[in-house]
Amino acid sequence: MALRELKVCLLGDTGVGKSSIVWRFVEDSFDPNINPTIGASFMTKTVQYQNELHKFLIWDTAGQERFRALAPMYYRGSAAAIIVYDITKEETFSTLKNWVKELRQHGPPNIVVAIAGNKCDLNDVREVMEKDAKDYADSIHAIFVETSAKNAININELFIEISHRIPSTDSNPPSSGKGFKLRRQPSVRQRSCC
């Protein structure tokens, strides 16, 4: 069975639960008092998808503003980006839109974008309507799920959906496939700034 390494990054505002989503996916655990991430933390998990093994190389970036400029190192070469917002905080949804813009301008051309509205267990203090988020996701051809890292809702589904959307390597080179295009013309790949 072929093993594919898929780089995946998590982006989003501070405190929305990026690390918790990764912990739930990789370790199946939840810690309400998790420390803020410095730079980015890295974890891997291998899952079977059809006749391939997908090894997710997960770069869980820091949401804090001072690490904002480091993001390109993590989404560079990524097969997928999971942009996370907190359904109980409207402003985290605005931040998400900025991430989409940044990926459109500087991200890899065929990156699969997934939007995760986290903390869906806190429905009674919701600020972002599910339908609004879904409509937005559809408009940019992104995967959309509401998740709860705390209650393990839709976490595995999120990654399965990513596996599903990643172009298969069987006959095509990775650049051509049914990945969702953020822009029409795949422009010249962003070179590192060095």
Binding site: C9, F42, A69, L70, M73, G77
Partner: protein
């Protein structure tokens, strides 16, 4: 009561497990890690060295911020992280240096690091007295700065001699750092603090700023001359992961290209620990060439000091350049023209120009006379009056020349060269290995009731006699004065270091055999025939042996320690109750 019926006791030592389990257990014990322990297993710290108009070079930042460096160390790092003299270096330059640690410090996981060190090839073992500095230096015009130039170095300080790995890390992180500053370094440190421990022989995945570096640290059990390349996965996207073919090797052929015809003489000079200076146009050339020289006698360890890049500001400058004593057994890499004068009295000087990719090989064959070396502008070559002991191997020269003509890739040329050096070194060392092995006392001279027998003395004349029948002529077609080479080598620091290591290994082997012999005796029966005082004495001695075996990782058979512990327990149980209590509690010194 028979010994076998005794329960093994709770205090089974780790060595009774399989070596692998023992290692895991020891790692596990130590891996209740403190923050920064993982970081410290790889790096001591990361420094940023800048240029201040008033102060000159200065360490601007140290990460992690709690890292300690003495003022002397900082001064050395400052000067060693910048090009010495006006050697240009516009743009980005990478090189490495080595400096003396000025005070001993312990890291909280040293037990784990000792364990890892044990499985390393001897030339990669950590030297407690030295650090390496891996430098990424950037110098670009910048009109907004007073000096007109941006000049900064990002420096990794480490005990590990893994130049290829750390150069790759710096190539990946330094250019981004110069743009993104502090938070970037904070993130780098956090990444390194999540790296797995540097265990030899395993494929390690090291996440660093958005990519994975895949490496394998060699072990002392690897077959010499083979490189166990980390397996590449199908994708070769460097934005995702990079597999490094080596952690420590330099590009031998590229380094030796300027002094191509003299490689075999250089091998002799390094083997003999002769004072050697490499004069190069820039620190990257000097450091790579010095490391290439040091590695050319592998698997022998080069035991003297070597400085891939050495400056006039180095704290050992006086010590190494004094004219009141003969030049020391060291290899120095320098770039400052001043050294051409300071080191005029040195017997062997390697002068290299800019290292180009080997398209042309220098034509001149002759060794140059020392008196012709006046300045750093002198032509590339080896300046010495040394007469090699061995006749030159024309075949390797022809083989490499042919490679140049046929445009054989530099990597392939390096592989050929490395194999050539390896065979040469092995041909040289095998007779010594064989002779030293014969110093081991016979198995039958080991008695459990006497101290372990001593190794026989090394006798130069006896050894020389063995060369007639079992000398290097068995494995090497090279002719020449092998005897002379051996006589010279036996006086060198490299022989000393090598023999010390061998003697230690053999002494430990004797200790281990002695221990095994003891275990096969009926110790309980013995104690019953002796006085209580003698029995207590035996118990204490056995306990000490057990501790020693554990501490020094004596190469005993797997169940030996367990057996010995059972003997001890059995003897103690046969003693009166009050004595039992005391002996069970007594730790040993």
């Amino acid at each position: 009561m028979s010994v076998q019926e005794q329960s093994p006791g709770a205090a089974l030592s780790a060595a009774s497990q399989s070596p692998c389990e023992a290692e895991e257990a020891a790692l596990g014990r130590c891996l209740s890690l403190l923050p920064w322990d993982r970081f410290s297993a790889w790096l001591h710290c990361i420094c940023v060295v800048g240029f201040d108009l008033e102060l000159g070079q200065a360490v601007e930042e140290i990460y992690p911020q709690h890292s300690k460096l003495t003022d002397k160390e900082k001064t050395n790092i400052c000067y060693l992280s910048f090009p010495d003299s006006n050697s240009g270096c516009l743009g980005d330059t990478q090189f490495c240096f080595r400096f003396r640690q000025s005070s001993s410090r312990r890291v909280s996981l040293h037990c784990m690091l000792d364990q890892l060190d044990r499985d390393l090839p001897v030339s990669l073992k950590k030297d407690p007295a030295y650090y390496y500095g891996y430098v990424y230096f950037r110098q670009v015009r910048d009109k907004t700065l007073k000096r007109g130039y941006f000049q900064k170095s990002l420096v990794l300080i480490s005990k590990l001699p893994y130049i290829h790995l750390f150069n790759a890390v710096l190539r990946h992180i330094a250019p981004e750092y110069f743009v993104k500053n502090e938070p970037f370094l904070e993130a780098v440190c956090s990444d390194v603090d999540h790296w797995p421990p540097p265990v030899p022989g395993k494929t390690l995945n090291l996440p660093i700023m958005g990519i994975i570096m895949k490496i394998r640290i060699p072990t002392c059990h690897d077959k010499p001359g083979t490189t166990q390349i980390v397996q590449f996965t199908q994708q070769a996207d460097t934005q995702i992961s990079i597999a490094l073919p080596t952690v420590h090797e330099v590009d031998l052929f590229r380094c030796f290209c300027p002094v191509f015809f003299h490689i075999q003489m250089l091998w002799e000079l390094v083997l003999l620990g002769e004072p050697l200076v490499v004069m190069a146009p820039s620190p990257s050339e000097s450091s790579e060439t010095v490391l290439a020289l040091v590695s050319c006698i592998s698997p022998l360890k080069y035991c003297s000091d070597f400085r891939p890049y050495f400056t006039i500001h180095d704290s050992e400058f006086k010590e190494y350049t004094t004219r009141t004593q003969a030049p020391p057994s060291v290899i120095l890499g320098v770039t400052n023209p001043f050294f051409a004068k300071t080191l005029q009295h040195w017997p062997h000087i390697v002068r290299i120009g800019e290292i180009k990719l080997p398209g042309e090989v220098p034509k001149q064959v002759k060794v140059k006379k020392l008196k012709n070396l006046k300045t750093l502008d002198s032509k590339p070559g080896v300046y010495t009056s040394y007469k090699p002991y061995l006749n030159r191997d024309e075949e390797i020269i022809k083989l490499l020349q042919k490679g140049v003509q046929q445009k054989r890739p530099a990597e392939a040329q390096s592989v050929i060269l490395r194999r050539y050096f390896l065979e040469l070194t092995q041909s040289f060392i095998i007779p010594l290995e064989r002779y030293v092995a014969s110093l081991m006392p016979l198995q039958k001279s080991i008695s459990p009731w006497k101290s372990p027998p001593q190794l026989r003395q090394f006798s130069q004349e006896d050894f020389m006699k063995t060369l007639e029948k079992a000398g290097p002529q068995l494995t090497s077609r090279l002719k020449g004065d092998w005897i002379g080479l051996y006589r010279h080598f036996l006086k060198s620091p490299n022989f000393n270091g090598w023999f010390r290591t061998r003697r230690k290994e053999m002494t430990q082997k004797l200790e281990a055999l002695h221990l095994e012999a003891l275990c096969n005796e009926d110790l309980l029966f013995w104690s019953q025939k002796h006085t209580e005082v003698e029995t207590v004495d035996l118990v204490l001695k056995l306990k000490n042996k057990l501790l020693q075996a554990d501490r020094e990782h004596l190469p005993v058979k797997p169940d030996t320690m367990e057996k010995l512990q059972r003997h001890i327990d059995a003897i103690i149980l046969a003693l009166p109750d009050d004595l039992q209590d005391i002996l069970l509690k007594t730790g040993t010194t």
